[in-house]
Symmetry: C2
Subunit: 226 residues, 2 copies
């Protein structure tokens, strides 16, 4: 076994979605993978690219985004080690409709669509896990779509913080602290608003005590259920 293959294997072992695979399946998957280092702010693919590849995050963080003609940005997902992205090539996406950018120096693995498909056909369990993954993303974006139509910026911001707390939260005396740092710009990209409006609403939320800041970390205070 080559060093690279061993390295892929090692990374796979820790990746979500691959946990259920047998050793031989993992070896097979590892042999399909090539790995790629991406520098902070480097793109993996851009909207319009013809790129029939799926990726797995090994180290670092990646975001998937959409850009408007006049340079505005929407963030669709923030991806952590173990997450799969580029999966829509499976659904017949010929040109990428989304871009993927590294938020920090990252290591990712690439698998050709055809290899990935072969693998899906051979491992029903793995196939089902991928179906669930895409289904979860569908649920999430449907909820965001609903929010942007029915809710104002303030309440979208609050629900974003609850989502972030579920993903990055850590109990602390005051409540749940969100461990990652996000600029107002990034927050606004996540809720479909603007940087200025987020700054404004955020300061109102601080005043009303719905959000506490500790340095530059956000804390969701525990609801008093007395």
């Amino acid at each position: 076994m080559t060093d690279i293959k061993a390295c892929n294997l090692w990374h796979l072992a820790s990746a979500r979605h691959f946990a259920e695979l047998s050793e031989s399946e993992k070896e097979m998957m590892a042999s399909f993978m090539t790995h790629i280092n991406v520098k902070k702010s480097g793109y993996i693919y851009n909207a319009g690219d013809r790129d029939e590849t799926l990726y797995i995050v090994m180290e670092g963080r990646i975001k998937t985004t959409r850009l408007s003609e006049d340079g505005k940005e929407i963030t669709l997902e923030i991806l952590e080690p173990g997450d799969i992205f580029g999966e829509l090539t499976l659904a017949g996406e010929e040109e990428r409709e989304t871009s993927a950018v590294a938020l920090e120096d990252s290591l990712i693995c690439a698998v050709k669509r055809s290899d990935f498909e072969d693998f899906l056909h051979q491992s029903p369990l793995f196939a089902f896990s991928v179906t669930k993954l895409i289904g979860l993303r569908l649920r999430k974006i449907e909820n965001r779509y609903e929010n942007i139509i029915f809710k104002d910026v303030r309440s979208r911001l609050v629900s974003l913080f609850y989502d972030l707390a579920d993903k990055y939260g850590e109990e602390c005396p005051e409540g749940r602290k969100i461990k990652i740092r996000l600029s107002h710009q990034e927050l606004s990209n996540l809720i479909g608003s603007t940087r200025e409006t987020v700054t404004l609403e955020l300061s109102k939320l601080k005043k009303s005590g719905e959000i506490i800041t500790d340095g530059r970390a956000f804390i969701l205070p525990q609801k008093k259920t007395a």
Copy 2:
């Protein structure tokens, strides 16, 4: 073979996603299904329901929607015979987040989630076809999410008409005619706007010739590429 089973089989034969199945697989699937008649405006499930079932449209048309507290509605999909819905129970949706309503008297088939999952595990080809289905829905809603953030009502309405023409279009002398009738209310539910605004923008589009009406059908005129 019972009459019901024979009937299910007959319906399955014509359903998208099931075309690739072998006869024995189709028989097995048919044996899992129960069928249900729904009257126009009857609901199949509502947001909040605990309902671990997948459905296949056999006859009629179904829409999936989301409702706000104050009664506003978003239409997510309009489903035709052969379409599957309720699929997000596969992704761990414990309570339905969406509602499903019949747009006309319809016949649908129901399959329990556990049966459906068994089936997925046994037929990799079918599993992959379901993955593609969910992936397509994800792509579609991501595009709508982008549109609602970047585009105004006018251009959302135009792209809706292009989508509708792809799905329901029919060539005619003036261009592509959209064969189904949708009220302004329904159009606004599809683009996240209001009935009044749609009426207004639509009348502007008619004046500018971007949309033609024939009776109550909409026609997208062919672009002059001279």
